[in-house]
């Protein structure tokens, strides 16, 4: 393997509270190549904060520190806001959870996607339009010319999320961070959106960080999984070896999920004392 795209060592995110500083991410280290990595954990485990910290999107009073936070040889922590903006979107981009809140309600879909290109490149108008349409086609939107003229409230949740993916991929970034990209969507649409992300990542040879609370979903779309609990990685494993997970937290999560052919009378509940050291 060549040098990793992302190289993170001892990442910490800290927030001050009335009872002293609280570490929400505690000493996270991992490297990401051109591969699909899943980060799984409950709410409050620090998985979203990890994604935000990579893009330097943690707002004060939150503080991000790391021994190393490198992207493609660039030290992200040493970049000023202006230089960071050149990386954000163009080289690393992020798909957020809910298209309802993340798309601009007063701009047409076509204009928003075009804006993503214009922020980073100079393109002629004709080229711009054809690129927007081609991108919408790539995320399987039929009739892209019509959809480009619509406003976000005029499309369904699934289509909104595909629009957001189009917007994030059109500047051709190297790494895509997808933070719960499908949890606001329906079961049947979820698979479709994930397939589109997967297809785009694979065809362009990008790196993907898929953040989710759904172990099964992450296992079926990623090669490698990090399981986070209270700001720390408690388990790292290959997706196909998830069933052999060692850590009691991962095993607890797996056991707590009902199956489609469920026969248990009661679901085992996580006993958090089993692994938290006092």
């Amino acid at each position: 393997m060549t040098a990793p795209l992302l190289d993170i060592e001892n990442l910490r995110v800290t927030f001050p509270t009335s009872t002293g500083p609280v570490d929400v991410v505690r000493g996270l280290s991992f490297a990401l190549g051109r591969e699909r990595l899943g980060i799984v954990g409950e709410s409050g485990s620090g998985k979203s904060m990890t994604g935000r910290a990579i893009l330097r999107l943690v707002r004060p009073p939150g503080r991000v520190t790391a021994d190393r936070l490198h992207f493609d040889g660039i030290d992200l922590l040493a970049q000023n806001p202006r230089r960071m903006r050149l990386i954000r979107g163009a080289r690393i981009s992020m798909v957020m959870q809910d298209p309802k809140f993340s798309l601009n309600p007063v701009m047409t879909i076509g204009a928003q996607i075009a804006e993503a290109v214009l922020t980073h490149e100079r393109v002629s108008r004709v080229d711009l339009h054809s690129r927007v349409v081609a991108m919408l086609e790539a995320v399987r939107i039929d009739d892209p010319d019509r959809v480009a003229a619509l406003y976000p409230h005029e499309v369904s949740g699934g289509m909104g999320q595909r629009v957001m993916i189009a917007m994030m991929l059109i500047p051709q970034p190297d790494v895509l961070i997808a933070d719960e990209p499908t949890s606001a969507l329906d079961g049947s649409v979820q698979a479709q959106v994930l397939d589109i992300i997967d297809e785009q990542i694979t065809s362009k040879g990008m790196g993907l960080i898929l953040i989710s609370h759904d172990l099964n979903m992450v296992a079926s779309y990623c090669e490698r999984i990090l399981v986070m609990y209270r700001g720390e990685v408690v388990e790292e494993c290959r997706a196909d070896a998830l069933a052999d997970a060692r850590h009691p937290y991962t095993r607890g999560l797996l056991a707590a999920m009902p199956h489609i052919d469920e026969t248990r009378d009661e679901l085992p509940v996580l006993d958090r004392r089993a692994w938290t050291t006092p």
Partner: protein, 246 residues
């Protein structure tokens, strides 16, 4: 005896018919799931039963008594709804005690404050949480409060609208166990709306698959677990659930 009987039910939002000719009987003590994608009309059925969607034709009977189109206090007392998102369904400026006492005031049930205590104990909430506000509680605790609120007027039927889909897997397991135990202890009837098939498999006896406002299939969960479903749409749903390794 049938707990809920729906006959040739059509439900409208304005001029749009969203539920078409729905007929479903739910026996007392039974747990039935309504399954389908969003927009299939499954939540609308619950809304019509509770009186939140009033524009319907056909017949709805709860515990053998037909419900009118207006506010029906008897029906409301027997039939309580638990909503999907406990972050949205609890009043942010009312304490747990306020939320749980309000159904008693509405239904004119005399009480000395004991009922709040016993119901909180029944859903596994510590008595110390009684005067907390929702923002001081975790997601799982909030959903327990929402379930406790529904149980306050001692209903015979709980209508559950995606009761666990806003929760983490580990918390989901706790709430599912709680719902199963409550049903066993209090002999409740459940009508649950969900798109999570493993949850159906854990909690329900029967499921009705809805598509575009119509029931396309009603099946025993025992048969569903083997994947032996008749309609192509229901088989598709099962295959999608099974392929995700649920």
């Amino acid at each position: 005896m049938t707990a809920i009987s729906l006959r040739n039910l059509d439900i409208f939002y304005g001029a749009t018919k969203v539920v078409h000719d729905l007929t479903l009987d739910i026996a007392e003590g039974e747990s039935v799931a309504l399954v389908g994608e969003s927009g299939s009309g499954k939540s609308t059925v619950l809304k019509a039963i509770t009186g939140l969607a009033t524009n319907w034709t056909g017949a709805i009977a709860v515990e053998g008594v037909p419900r009118s189109h207006r506010i029906d206090r008897r029906c409301a007392r027997q039939c309580q709804l638990v909503f999907q998102d406990p972050y949205a369904s609890l009043h942010p400026r009312k304490t747990v005690d306020d939320a749980l006492s309000e159904p008693l005031a509405i239904h004119g049930i005399p009480d000395d404050g004991r009922r709040v205590e016993t119901t909180m104990a029944a859903v596994g909430l510590d008595a110390r949480l009684r005067f907390r506000f929702p923002h001081q509680l975790s997601g799982g605790q909030r959903q327990r409060v929402a379930i406790a609120r529904a149980l306050m007027p001692e209903p015979r039927i709980l209508l559950l609208d995606e009761p666990t889909s806003a929760l983490d897997v580990s918390v989901q397991a706790e709430i599912l166990n709680l719902l199963k135990r409550l049903r066993r202890e209090q002999g409740l009837t459940y009508l649950m709306v969900t798109h999570n098939l493993p949850v159906v498999s854990f909690l329900c006896d029967r499921l009705a698959v809805m598509q575009k406002g119509r029931i396309v299939e009603i099946a025993e969960v025992a048969r569903f677990k083997t994947g032996a479903l008749a309609s192509p749409y229901a088989r598709e749903l099962y295959a999608a659930g099974a392929s995700r390794g649920c």
